[in-house]
Protein backbone atom coordinates (compact mmCIF):
# COMPACT_ATOMS: atom_id res chain seq x y z
CA UNK A 1 0.00 0.00 0.00
CA UNK A 2 2.79 2.34 0.92
CA UNK A 3 4.33 1.62 -2.46
CA UNK A 4 1.13 2.58 -4.24
CA UNK A 5 0.81 5.69 -2.16
CA UNK A 6 4.34 6.60 -3.14
CA UNK A 7 3.50 6.14 -6.82
CA UNK A 8 0.38 8.25 -6.43
CA UNK A 9 2.40 10.93 -4.73
CA UNK A 10 5.03 10.79 -7.43
CA UNK A 11 2.43 11.03 -10.18
CA UNK A 12 0.86 13.98 -8.40
CA UNK A 13 4.09 15.88 -8.04
CA UNK A 14 5.24 14.99 -11.54
CA UNK A 15 2.06 16.23 -13.16
CA UNK A 16 2.69 19.57 -11.60
CA UNK A 17 5.70 19.83 -13.88
CA UNK A 18 4.46 18.00 -16.96
CA UNK A 19 1.34 18.80 -18.90
CA UNK A 20 0.75 15.13 -19.84
CA UNK A 21 1.85 12.09 -17.89
CA UNK A 22 1.50 8.31 -17.80
CA UNK A 23 -0.56 6.36 -15.28
CA UNK A 24 0.46 2.75 -15.82
CA UNK A 25 -1.09 -0.64 -15.23
CA UNK A 26 0.26 -4.07 -16.04
CA UNK A 27 -1.34 -7.50 -16.09
CA UNK A 28 1.57 -8.70 -13.99
CA UNK A 29 4.92 -7.28 -12.95
CA UNK A 30 6.32 -10.74 -12.32
CA UNK A 31 6.97 -13.65 -14.68
CA UNK A 32 7.58 -17.02 -13.04
CA UNK A 33 9.52 -19.58 -15.03
CA UNK A 34 8.34 -23.00 -13.92
CA UNK A 35 8.83 -26.41 -15.51
CA UNK A 36 6.15 -26.02 -18.18
CA UNK A 37 6.92 -22.38 -18.97
CA UNK A 38 6.23 -21.76 -22.64
CA UNK A 39 6.49 -18.03 -23.09
CA UNK A 40 4.23 -15.42 -21.59
CA UNK A 41 2.17 -12.43 -22.58
CA UNK A 42 2.29 -9.22 -20.59
CA UNK A 43 -0.49 -6.70 -20.97
CA UNK A 44 0.65 -3.13 -20.53
CA UNK A 45 -2.08 -0.50 -20.31
CA UNK A 46 -2.65 2.88 -18.84
CA UNK A 47 -3.99 6.37 -19.14
CA UNK A 48 -2.56 9.75 -20.00
CA UNK A 49 -3.23 12.17 -17.19
CA UNK A 50 -3.69 15.86 -17.95
CA UNK A 51 -4.49 19.00 -16.00
CA UNK A 52 -5.38 20.89 -19.18
CA UNK A 53 -7.51 20.09 -22.25
CA UNK A 54 -5.95 17.97 -25.01
CA UNK A 55 -3.55 20.22 -26.93
CA UNK A 56 -4.51 20.78 -30.54
CA UNK A 57 -2.24 19.77 -33.40
CA UNK A 58 -0.61 16.36 -33.92
CA UNK A 59 -2.10 13.48 -31.87
CA UNK A 60 -0.19 11.91 -29.01
CA UNK A 61 1.77 8.73 -29.76
CA UNK A 62 2.82 6.02 -27.32
CA UNK A 63 5.97 3.85 -27.46
CA UNK A 64 6.43 0.90 -25.10
CA UNK A 65 9.79 -0.88 -24.74
CA UNK A 66 10.68 -3.95 -22.69
CA UNK A 67 14.34 -4.91 -22.42
CA UNK A 68 16.00 -7.90 -20.76
CA UNK A 69 19.32 -7.86 -18.94
CA UNK A 70 22.24 -6.73 -21.13
CA UNK A 71 25.33 -8.77 -21.75
CA UNK A 72 28.38 -8.58 -24.03
CA UNK A 73 28.07 -10.72 -27.18
CA UNK A 74 30.67 -11.85 -29.70
CA UNK A 75 29.53 -11.82 -33.32
CA UNK A 76 31.60 -13.97 -35.67
CA UNK A 77 31.67 -14.00 -39.46
CA UNK A 78 32.45 -17.01 -41.63
CA UNK A 79 34.59 -16.79 -44.74
CA UNK A 80 35.69 -19.34 -47.30
CA UNK A 81 39.30 -20.30 -46.68
CA UNK A 82 40.93 -23.17 -48.62
CA UNK A 83 37.53 -24.42 -49.72
CA UNK A 84 35.89 -24.61 -46.30
CA UNK A 85 33.82 -22.13 -44.33
CA UNK A 86 35.57 -20.98 -41.18
CA UNK A 87 35.02 -18.24 -38.60
CA UNK A 88 37.42 -15.43 -39.41
CA UNK A 89 36.48 -11.98 -38.11
CA UNK A 90 34.86 -11.36 -34.75
CA UNK A 91 33.38 -8.21 -33.26
CA UNK A 92 32.50 -7.85 -29.62
CA UNK A 93 29.29 -5.96 -28.98
CA UNK A 94 29.72 -4.41 -25.54
CA UNK A 95 26.13 -4.50 -24.45
CA UNK A 96 23.21 -6.19 -26.12
CA UNK A 97 19.93 -6.84 -24.28
CA UNK A 98 19.05 -10.54 -24.12
CA UNK A 99 15.50 -9.52 -25.05
CA UNK A 100 14.15 -6.28 -26.51
CA UNK A 101 10.64 -5.46 -27.65
CA UNK A 102 9.22 -2.18 -28.94
CA UNK A 103 5.54 -1.60 -29.50
CA UNK A 104 4.42 1.69 -31.03
CA UNK A 105 1.09 3.34 -31.82
CA UNK A 106 2.23 4.34 -35.31
CA UNK A 107 5.35 3.90 -37.44
CA UNK A 108 8.40 4.35 -35.25
CA UNK A 109 9.91 6.83 -37.70
CA UNK A 110 6.82 9.03 -37.44
CA UNK A 111 6.48 8.97 -33.67
CA UNK A 112 10.12 9.58 -32.80
CA UNK A 113 12.81 11.97 -34.00
CA UNK A 114 16.31 10.71 -34.42
CA UNK A 115 17.71 13.08 -31.78
CA UNK A 116 15.18 11.84 -29.24
CA UNK A 117 15.98 8.23 -30.18
CA UNK A 118 19.64 8.99 -29.60
CA UNK A 119 18.93 10.50 -26.18
CA UNK A 120 16.60 7.80 -24.87
CA UNK A 121 18.06 4.81 -26.82
CA UNK A 122 14.69 3.52 -27.94
CA UNK A 123 15.06 1.83 -31.36
CA UNK A 124 16.73 -1.60 -31.53
CA UNK A 125 20.05 -0.45 -33.07
CA UNK A 126 20.29 2.30 -30.42
CA UNK A 127 19.49 -0.11 -27.57
CA UNK A 128 22.61 -2.07 -28.46
CA UNK A 129 25.87 -0.48 -27.45
CA UNK A 130 28.94 -1.19 -29.51
CA UNK A 131 31.91 0.98 -28.63
CA UNK A 132 33.86 0.04 -31.70
CA UNK A 133 35.18 -2.83 -33.75
CA UNK A 134 38.88 -3.67 -34.03
CA UNK A 135 40.67 -1.49 -36.60
CA UNK A 136 41.35 -4.34 -39.03
CA UNK A 137 37.65 -5.09 -39.64
CA UNK A 138 35.87 -3.26 -42.42
CA UNK A 139 32.14 -2.86 -42.44
CA UNK A 140 31.72 -3.36 -38.69
CA UNK A 141 28.10 -2.20 -38.92
CA UNK A 142 27.28 -5.46 -40.70
CA UNK A 143 28.05 -7.30 -37.45
CA UNK A 144 25.50 -5.35 -35.41
CA UNK A 145 22.99 -5.78 -38.23
CA UNK A 146 23.62 -9.53 -38.15
CA UNK A 147 23.10 -9.58 -34.37
CA UNK A 148 19.71 -7.87 -34.79
CA UNK A 149 18.77 -10.15 -37.69
CA UNK A 150 19.57 -13.34 -35.75
CA UNK A 151 17.81 -12.13 -32.60
CA UNK A 152 14.76 -11.03 -34.58
CA UNK A 153 14.49 -14.46 -36.19
CA UNK A 154 14.01 -16.05 -32.76
CA UNK A 155 11.67 -13.28 -31.49
CA UNK A 156 14.29 -12.18 -28.99
CA UNK A 157 14.08 -8.76 -30.63
CA UNK A 158 10.71 -7.44 -31.75
CA UNK A 159 9.54 -4.24 -33.34
CA UNK A 160 5.76 -4.20 -33.59
CA UNK A 161 4.55 -0.95 -35.14
CA UNK A 162 0.92 -0.09 -34.55
CA UNK A 163 0.57 -2.57 -31.67
CA UNK A 164 -0.26 0.12 -29.11
CA UNK A 165 -3.92 1.09 -29.28
CA UNK A 166 -4.66 4.66 -28.19
CA UNK A 167 -8.25 5.72 -27.47
CA UNK A 168 -9.33 9.35 -27.34
CA UNK A 169 -5.68 10.35 -26.88
CA UNK A 170 -6.08 9.21 -23.28
CA UNK A 171 -6.18 5.43 -22.88
CA UNK A 172 -3.57 3.08 -24.30
CA UNK A 173 -2.95 -0.65 -24.20
CA UNK A 174 -0.63 -3.23 -25.75
CA UNK A 175 0.53 -6.81 -25.25
CA UNK A 176 4.17 -7.90 -25.29
CA UNK A 177 4.97 -11.53 -26.11
CA UNK A 178 7.80 -12.96 -24.07
CA UNK A 179 9.37 -15.98 -25.83
CA UNK A 180 9.89 -19.38 -24.18
CA UNK A 181 13.67 -18.99 -24.20
CA UNK A 182 13.78 -16.33 -21.50
CA UNK A 183 16.62 -15.55 -19.13
CA UNK A 184 16.24 -14.45 -15.53
CA UNK A 185 16.50 -10.83 -14.55
CA UNK A 186 14.74 -7.51 -14.27
CA UNK A 187 13.11 -6.52 -17.52
CA UNK A 188 13.14 -2.75 -17.78
CA UNK A 189 9.83 -1.47 -19.13
CA UNK A 190 9.59 2.07 -20.48
CA UNK A 191 6.63 4.03 -21.78
CA UNK A 192 7.23 7.16 -23.86
CA UNK A 193 4.61 9.71 -24.82
CA UNK A 194 5.54 11.63 -27.94
CA UNK A 195 3.96 14.44 -29.85
CA UNK A 196 5.35 15.53 -33.20
CA UNK A 197 8.36 13.29 -32.65
CA UNK A 198 9.33 14.88 -29.33
CA UNK A 199 9.28 12.86 -26.11
CA UNK A 200 6.99 14.80 -23.79
CA UNK A 201 6.89 12.32 -20.95
CA UNK A 202 8.27 8.94 -19.97
CA UNK A 203 7.67 6.37 -17.29
CA UNK A 204 9.86 3.47 -16.21
CA UNK A 205 9.16 0.28 -14.28
CA UNK A 206 10.42 -3.30 -14.09
CA UNK A 207 9.04 -6.73 -14.80
CA UNK A 208 10.72 -9.37 -12.64
CA UNK A 209 11.45 -12.62 -14.44
CA UNK A 210 12.34 -15.39 -12.01
CA UNK A 211 12.78 -19.13 -12.05
CA UNK A 212 10.58 -20.78 -9.43
CA UNK A 213 10.22 -24.18 -7.79
CA UNK A 214 12.26 -27.04 -9.22
CA UNK A 215 13.81 -24.81 -11.89
CA UNK A 216 15.13 -22.42 -9.27
CA UNK A 217 16.34 -25.19 -6.98
CA UNK A 218 18.28 -26.98 -9.74
CA UNK A 219 19.76 -23.77 -11.07
CA UNK A 220 20.96 -22.64 -7.63
CA UNK A 221 22.37 -26.08 -6.82
CA UNK A 222 24.33 -26.20 -10.09
CA UNK A 223 25.92 -22.84 -9.25
CA UNK A 224 26.33 -23.00 -5.48
CA UNK A 225 27.23 -26.63 -5.06
CA UNK A 226 28.53 -27.84 -8.40
CA UNK A 227 30.22 -30.96 -7.07
CA UNK A 228 27.03 -32.20 -5.40
CA UNK A 229 25.04 -31.32 -8.52
CA UNK A 230 27.46 -33.29 -10.71
CA UNK A 231 27.32 -36.32 -8.40
CA UNK A 232 23.53 -36.09 -8.32
CA UNK A 233 23.42 -36.06 -12.14
CA UNK A 234 25.64 -39.15 -12.25
CA UNK A 235 23.58 -40.92 -9.57
CA UNK A 236 20.39 -40.28 -11.55
CA UNK A 237 22.07 -41.59 -14.71
CA UNK A 238 23.31 -44.79 -13.03
CA UNK A 239 19.96 -45.38 -11.30
CA UNK A 240 18.05 -44.90 -14.55
CA UNK A 241 20.41 -47.24 -16.39
CA UNK A 242 20.09 -49.90 -13.73
CA UNK A 243 16.33 -49.41 -13.43
CA UNK A 244 15.73 -49.89 -17.15
CA UNK A 245 17.88 -52.99 -17.15
CA UNK A 246 16.02 -54.45 -14.16
CA UNK A 247 12.60 -53.69 -15.64
CA UNK A 248 13.57 -55.31 -18.94
CA UNK A 249 14.88 -58.45 -17.30
CA UNK A 250 11.50 -58.86 -15.52
CA UNK A 251 9.77 -58.62 -18.90
CA UNK A 252 12.09 -61.25 -20.34
CA UNK A 253 11.08 -63.86 -17.79
Amino acid sequence: MRFLALIAFWIFTATALLAEDVVLGMSSDQVSINTNFDGSEILIFGAIKREEPIPSGKPIEVIVTVSGPSEPVTVRRKEKKLGIWVNTDAVEVDEAPSFYAIATSTLLGLSLRDTEDLRHRISIPRAIRSVGAPMNIENAAAFTEALIRIKKATDQYQLVEGAVKVDEQTLFRTAVQLPAALTEGNYKTRIFLTRDGEVISNHETSIYVRKVGLERWLYRLSRDNALLYGLMSLAIAIAAGWGASAVFSIFRR
Binding site: N34, T35, N36, F37, D38, G39, E71, P72, V73, T74, V75, R76, R77, K78, E79, K80, G83, I84, W85, V86, N87, E92, V93, A142, F143, A146, L147, R149, I150, K151, A180, A181, L182, T183, K211, L214, E215, L218, Y219, S222, R223, A226, L227, Y229, G230, L231, M232, S233, L234, I236, A237, I238, A240, G241, W242, G243, A244, S245, F248, S249
Partner: protein
Protein backbone atom coordinates in the same frame (compact mmCIF):
# COMPACT_ATOMS: atom_id res chain seq x y z
CA UNK B 1 4.27 -30.89 -23.92
CA UNK B 2 6.75 -28.07 -23.58
CA UNK B 3 9.29 -28.14 -20.80
CA UNK B 4 11.64 -25.39 -19.65
CA UNK B 5 15.24 -26.49 -19.10
CA UNK B 6 16.76 -24.66 -16.10
CA UNK B 7 20.40 -24.60 -17.23
CA UNK B 8 19.97 -24.41 -21.01
CA UNK B 9 17.31 -21.69 -20.46
CA UNK B 10 15.22 -22.80 -23.42
CA UNK B 11 11.84 -24.45 -23.68
CA UNK B 12 11.59 -27.65 -25.75
CA UNK B 13 9.12 -30.44 -26.42
CA UNK B 14 9.52 -33.23 -23.84
CA UNK B 15 8.38 -35.98 -26.24
CA UNK B 16 10.88 -34.89 -28.86
CA UNK B 17 13.66 -35.34 -26.30
CA UNK B 18 12.32 -38.74 -25.21
CA UNK B 19 12.21 -39.83 -28.84
CA UNK B 20 15.71 -38.63 -29.62
CA UNK B 21 16.99 -40.37 -26.49
CA UNK B 22 15.28 -43.61 -27.49
CA UNK B 23 16.62 -43.57 -31.05
CA UNK B 24 20.19 -42.93 -29.99
CA UNK B 25 19.79 -45.48 -27.17
CA UNK B 26 18.92 -48.24 -29.66
CA UNK B 27 22.05 -47.47 -31.68
CA UNK B 28 24.10 -47.36 -28.50
CA UNK B 29 22.96 -50.82 -27.42
CA UNK B 30 23.41 -52.29 -30.89
CA UNK B 31 26.88 -51.03 -31.65
CA UNK B 32 28.42 -50.29 -28.27
CA UNK B 33 28.89 -46.66 -29.17
CA UNK B 34 27.75 -44.00 -26.72
CA UNK B 35 25.84 -42.24 -29.49
CA UNK B 36 27.30 -38.85 -28.58
CA UNK B 37 28.54 -38.27 -32.11
CA UNK B 38 24.91 -38.43 -33.26
CA UNK B 39 23.12 -36.87 -30.30
CA UNK B 40 25.30 -33.80 -29.86
CA UNK B 41 24.64 -32.46 -33.40
CA UNK B 42 20.93 -33.31 -33.00
CA UNK B 43 20.75 -31.27 -29.79
CA UNK B 44 22.41 -28.31 -31.55
CA UNK B 45 19.77 -28.64 -34.21
CA UNK B 46 16.80 -28.36 -31.80
CA UNK B 47 18.29 -25.23 -30.27
CA UNK B 48 20.16 -26.37 -27.16
CA UNK B 49 23.25 -24.17 -26.59
CA UNK B 50 26.35 -26.13 -27.74
CA UNK B 51 28.16 -26.01 -24.37
CA UNK B 52 25.10 -27.42 -22.58
CA UNK B 53 24.53 -30.03 -25.29
CA UNK B 54 28.09 -31.39 -25.05
CA UNK B 55 28.13 -31.53 -21.23
CA UNK B 56 24.64 -32.98 -20.82
CA UNK B 57 25.28 -35.53 -23.54
CA UNK B 58 28.18 -36.90 -21.47
CA UNK B 59 25.80 -37.40 -18.55
CA UNK B 60 23.25 -39.14 -20.72
CA UNK B 61 25.87 -41.50 -22.17
CA UNK B 62 26.68 -42.64 -18.62
CA UNK B 63 23.08 -43.82 -18.24
CA UNK B 64 22.67 -45.55 -21.59
CA UNK B 65 26.10 -47.20 -21.37
CA UNK B 66 25.37 -48.43 -17.85
CA UNK B 67 22.06 -49.89 -18.96
CA UNK B 68 23.74 -51.50 -21.96
CA UNK B 69 26.67 -52.91 -20.04
CA UNK B 70 24.38 -54.65 -17.53
CA UNK B 71 22.75 -56.52 -20.41
CA UNK B 72 26.22 -57.49 -21.65
CA UNK B 73 27.32 -58.62 -18.18
CA UNK B 74 24.45 -61.10 -18.15
CA UNK B 75 25.71 -62.52 -21.44
CA UNK B 76 29.29 -62.49 -20.16
CA UNK B 77 30.39 -60.42 -23.12
CA UNK B 78 32.44 -57.89 -21.14
CA UNK B 79 36.20 -58.30 -20.92
CA UNK B 80 36.76 -56.59 -17.58
CA UNK B 81 40.51 -56.93 -17.74
CA UNK B 82 40.75 -55.39 -21.19
CA UNK B 83 38.22 -52.73 -20.15
CA UNK B 84 40.34 -51.71 -17.18
CA UNK B 85 43.51 -51.50 -19.25
CA UNK B 86 41.71 -49.35 -21.83
CA UNK B 87 40.22 -47.22 -19.06
CA UNK B 88 43.62 -46.42 -17.56
CA UNK B 89 44.71 -45.20 -20.98
CA UNK B 90 41.39 -43.41 -21.46
CA UNK B 91 41.61 -41.35 -18.28
CA UNK B 92 45.20 -40.31 -19.03
CA UNK B 93 44.06 -39.39 -22.54
CA UNK B 94 41.05 -37.42 -21.33
CA UNK B 95 43.29 -35.36 -19.04
CA UNK B 96 45.69 -34.68 -21.92
CA UNK B 97 42.77 -33.91 -24.21
CA UNK B 98 41.32 -31.25 -21.90
CA UNK B 99 44.78 -29.65 -21.74
CA UNK B 100 45.09 -29.62 -25.56
CA UNK B 101 41.52 -28.33 -25.85
CA UNK B 102 42.29 -25.33 -23.64
CA UNK B 103 45.43 -24.48 -25.63
CA UNK B 104 43.42 -24.59 -28.88
CA UNK B 105 40.64 -22.53 -27.32
CA UNK B 106 43.15 -19.82 -26.47
CA UNK B 107 44.29 -19.88 -30.12
CA UNK B 108 40.68 -19.67 -31.39
CA UNK B 109 39.20 -21.88 -34.10
CA UNK B 110 38.39 -24.73 -31.75
CA UNK B 111 35.01 -25.27 -33.48
CA UNK B 112 36.70 -25.79 -36.78
CA UNK B 113 39.19 -28.23 -35.33
CA UNK B 114 36.44 -30.26 -33.70
CA UNK B 115 34.54 -30.46 -37.00
CA UNK B 116 37.65 -31.36 -38.99
CA UNK B 117 38.45 -34.05 -36.41
CA UNK B 118 34.97 -35.47 -36.85
CA UNK B 119 35.12 -35.49 -40.64
CA UNK B 120 38.60 -37.01 -40.72
CA UNK B 121 38.03 -39.76 -38.16
CA UNK B 122 34.48 -40.60 -39.12
CA UNK B 123 35.51 -40.72 -42.78
CA UNK B 124 38.52 -42.98 -42.30
CA UNK B 125 36.89 -45.32 -39.79
CA UNK B 126 33.56 -45.50 -41.61
CA UNK B 127 35.25 -46.15 -44.96
CA UNK B 128 37.56 -48.85 -43.64
CA UNK B 129 34.79 -50.65 -41.78
CA UNK B 130 32.43 -50.45 -44.71
CA UNK B 131 34.77 -52.11 -47.18
CA UNK B 132 36.05 -54.66 -44.69
CA UNK B 133 32.57 -55.84 -43.70
CA UNK B 134 31.43 -55.82 -47.33
CA UNK B 135 34.29 -58.19 -48.17
CA UNK B 136 33.47 -60.37 -45.16
CA UNK B 137 29.83 -60.65 -46.22
CA UNK B 138 30.88 -61.53 -49.81
CA UNK B 139 33.27 -64.19 -48.54
CA UNK B 140 30.62 -65.85 -46.37
CA UNK B 141 28.23 -65.88 -49.32
CA UNK B 142 30.85 -67.55 -51.54
CA UNK B 143 31.49 -70.05 -48.75
CA UNK B 144 35.13 -69.12 -48.28
CA UNK B 145 36.43 -69.56 -44.74
CA UNK B 146 37.34 -66.28 -43.03
CA UNK B 147 41.08 -65.55 -43.23
CA UNK B 148 43.08 -66.89 -40.30
CA UNK B 149 44.33 -64.37 -37.75
CA UNK B 150 47.81 -63.32 -38.69
CA UNK B 151 50.56 -62.65 -36.24
CA UNK B 152 51.72 -59.07 -36.69
CA UNK B 153 54.07 -56.66 -34.96
CA UNK B 154 51.63 -56.26 -32.07
CA UNK B 155 52.45 -59.77 -30.91
CA UNK B 156 56.15 -58.97 -30.58
CA UNK B 157 55.74 -56.35 -27.81
CA UNK B 158 56.62 -56.95 -24.15
CA UNK B 159 54.33 -56.88 -21.01
CA UNK B 160 52.06 -59.60 -22.33
CA UNK B 161 48.82 -60.26 -20.53
CA UNK B 162 46.15 -62.90 -20.98
CA UNK B 163 42.67 -61.59 -21.76
CA UNK B 164 40.57 -64.70 -21.33
CA UNK B 165 37.17 -63.34 -22.34
CA UNK B 166 38.59 -61.98 -25.59
CA UNK B 167 40.74 -65.06 -26.12
CA UNK B 168 43.85 -62.92 -26.55
CA UNK B 169 47.37 -63.06 -25.24
CA UNK B 170 48.91 -59.72 -26.15
CA UNK B 171 51.02 -56.91 -24.76
CA UNK B 172 49.22 -54.25 -22.70
CA UNK B 173 50.95 -51.47 -24.69
CA UNK B 174 48.55 -51.38 -27.67
CA UNK B 175 45.34 -51.28 -25.53
CA UNK B 176 46.77 -48.52 -23.32
CA UNK B 177 47.76 -46.53 -26.43
CA UNK B 178 44.30 -47.05 -27.94
CA UNK B 179 42.80 -45.87 -24.64
CA UNK B 180 44.95 -42.75 -24.55
CA UNK B 181 44.27 -41.71 -28.13
CA UNK B 182 40.54 -42.31 -27.74
CA UNK B 183 40.59 -40.34 -24.47
CA UNK B 184 42.31 -37.37 -26.14
CA UNK B 185 39.86 -37.36 -29.04
CA UNK B 186 36.89 -37.86 -26.73
CA UNK B 187 37.80 -34.80 -24.69
CA UNK B 188 38.39 -32.66 -27.78
CA UNK B 189 35.32 -33.82 -29.66
CA UNK B 190 33.02 -34.02 -26.64
CA UNK B 191 31.92 -37.63 -27.14
CA UNK B 192 32.42 -40.97 -25.40
CA UNK B 193 34.65 -42.18 -28.19
CA UNK B 194 32.94 -45.52 -28.78
CA UNK B 195 32.85 -45.04 -32.53
CA UNK B 196 36.64 -44.88 -32.56
CA UNK B 197 37.12 -47.45 -29.80
CA UNK B 198 35.01 -50.18 -31.40
CA UNK B 199 36.89 -50.32 -34.72
CA UNK B 200 40.23 -49.98 -32.94
CA UNK B 201 39.42 -52.98 -30.77
CA UNK B 202 38.29 -55.06 -33.72
CA UNK B 203 41.02 -54.21 -36.19
CA UNK B 204 44.02 -53.22 -34.07
CA UNK B 205 43.62 -55.53 -31.09
CA UNK B 206 41.81 -58.33 -32.92
CA UNK B 207 39.08 -58.75 -30.32
CA UNK B 208 35.90 -60.68 -31.23
CA UNK B 209 33.08 -58.30 -32.20
CA UNK B 210 30.65 -59.67 -29.59
CA UNK B 211 33.03 -58.87 -26.72
CA UNK B 212 34.01 -55.50 -28.16
CA UNK B 213 30.61 -53.90 -27.63
CA UNK B 214 30.28 -54.74 -23.93
CA UNK B 215 33.87 -53.83 -23.18
CA UNK B 216 33.60 -50.53 -25.00
CA UNK B 217 30.44 -49.64 -23.05
CA UNK B 218 32.16 -50.55 -19.79
CA UNK B 219 35.03 -48.19 -20.52
CA UNK B 220 32.78 -45.40 -21.81
CA UNK B 221 30.83 -45.23 -18.50
CA UNK B 222 33.92 -44.13 -16.62
CA UNK B 223 35.30 -41.73 -19.20
CA UNK B 224 31.95 -39.94 -19.61
CA UNK B 225 31.34 -39.85 -15.84
CA UNK B 226 34.72 -38.13 -15.52
CA UNK B 227 33.80 -35.67 -18.30
CA UNK B 228 30.40 -34.94 -16.70
CA UNK B 229 31.99 -34.04 -13.38
CA UNK B 230 34.54 -31.85 -15.15
CA UNK B 231 31.82 -29.95 -17.03
CA UNK B 232 29.52 -29.67 -13.98
CA UNK B 233 32.21 -28.21 -11.74
CA UNK B 234 34.03 -25.93 -14.19
CA UNK B 235 31.49 -24.74 -16.79
CA UNK B 236 28.16 -25.35 -14.97
CA UNK B 237 26.69 -26.62 -18.24
CA UNK B 238 25.16 -29.99 -17.24
CA UNK B 239 21.38 -29.68 -17.48
CA UNK B 240 19.98 -32.47 -15.35
CA UNK B 241 16.42 -31.90 -16.59
CA UNK B 242 17.54 -32.36 -20.18
CA UNK B 243 19.65 -35.36 -19.19
CA UNK B 244 16.74 -37.09 -17.43
CA UNK B 245 14.47 -36.72 -20.47
CA UNK B 246 17.15 -37.99 -22.83
CA UNK B 247 18.16 -40.87 -20.60
CA UNK B 248 14.66 -42.16 -19.93
CA UNK B 249 14.38 -42.67 -23.69
CA UNK B 250 18.02 -43.70 -23.90
CA UNK B 251 18.09 -46.50 -21.33
CA UNK B 252 14.99 -48.13 -22.79
CA UNK B 253 16.44 -47.80 -26.27
CA UNK B 254 19.73 -49.31 -25.13
CA UNK B 255 17.97 -52.42 -23.81
CA UNK B 256 16.11 -52.86 -27.08
CA UNK B 257 19.28 -52.20 -29.06
CA UNK B 258 21.30 -54.77 -27.16
CA UNK B 259 18.70 -57.45 -27.95
CA UNK B 260 18.65 -56.52 -31.63
CA UNK B 261 22.45 -56.55 -31.67
CA UNK B 262 22.69 -60.09 -30.29
CA UNK B 263 20.41 -61.42 -33.04
CA UNK B 264 22.42 -59.87 -35.84
CA UNK B 265 25.54 -61.15 -37.54
CA UNK B 266 28.80 -59.39 -36.72
CA UNK B 267 29.37 -58.32 -40.34
CA UNK B 268 25.88 -56.88 -40.64
CA UNK B 269 26.36 -54.99 -37.39
CA UNK B 270 29.65 -53.56 -38.61
CA UNK B 271 28.37 -52.52 -42.02
CA UNK B 272 25.39 -50.72 -40.45
CA UNK B 273 27.65 -48.86 -38.05
CA UNK B 274 29.93 -47.98 -40.97
CA UNK B 275 27.01 -46.57 -43.00
CA UNK B 276 25.87 -44.49 -40.05
CA UNK B 277 29.35 -43.15 -39.37
CA UNK B 278 29.77 -42.23 -43.06
CA UNK B 279 26.39 -40.47 -43.11
CA UNK B 280 27.31 -38.24 -40.16
CA UNK B 281 30.70 -37.60 -41.74
CA UNK B 282 29.07 -36.58 -45.02
CA UNK B 283 26.69 -34.18 -43.26
CA UNK B 284 29.51 -32.48 -41.38
CA UNK B 285 31.67 -32.26 -44.51
CA UNK B 286 28.82 -30.60 -46.39
CA UNK B 287 28.43 -28.06 -43.58
CA UNK B 288 32.05 -27.09 -44.03
CA UNK B 289 31.96 -27.00 -47.83
CA UNK B 290 28.62 -25.36 -48.62
CA UNK B 291 27.93 -21.70 -47.99
CA UNK B 292 25.89 -21.40 -44.79
CA UNK B 293 22.57 -19.51 -44.95
CA UNK B 294 23.72 -17.22 -42.13
CA UNK B 295 27.37 -16.20 -42.28
CA UNK B 296 27.29 -14.64 -38.83
CA UNK B 297 26.97 -16.42 -35.51
CA UNK B 298 26.55 -15.21 -31.94
CA UNK B 299 28.55 -16.37 -28.96
CA UNK B 300 29.04 -15.37 -25.35
CA UNK B 301 31.84 -12.85 -25.13
CA UNK B 302 35.24 -13.69 -23.73
CA UNK B 303 35.99 -16.77 -25.85
Amino acid sequence: MQIYLPIAEVSVNAFLLLGLGGLVGVLSGMFGVGGGFLMTPLLFFIGIPPAVAVATEANQIVASSFSGVLAHFKRKTVDLRMGTVLLIGGLIGAGLGVYVFNILKAMGQVDLLVKLCYVLFLGIIGGLMFFESLNAIRNTKKGKPPPRKKHNWIHGLPFKMRFRTSGLYISVIPPVLVGISVGVLAAIMGVGGGFIMVPAMIYLLGMPTKVVVGTSLFQIIFVTAFTTMLHATTNYTVDVMLAVLLLVGGVIGAQVGTRIGVKMKAEQLRILLAIMVLAVCGKLALDLLLQPAELYSLGAAGH
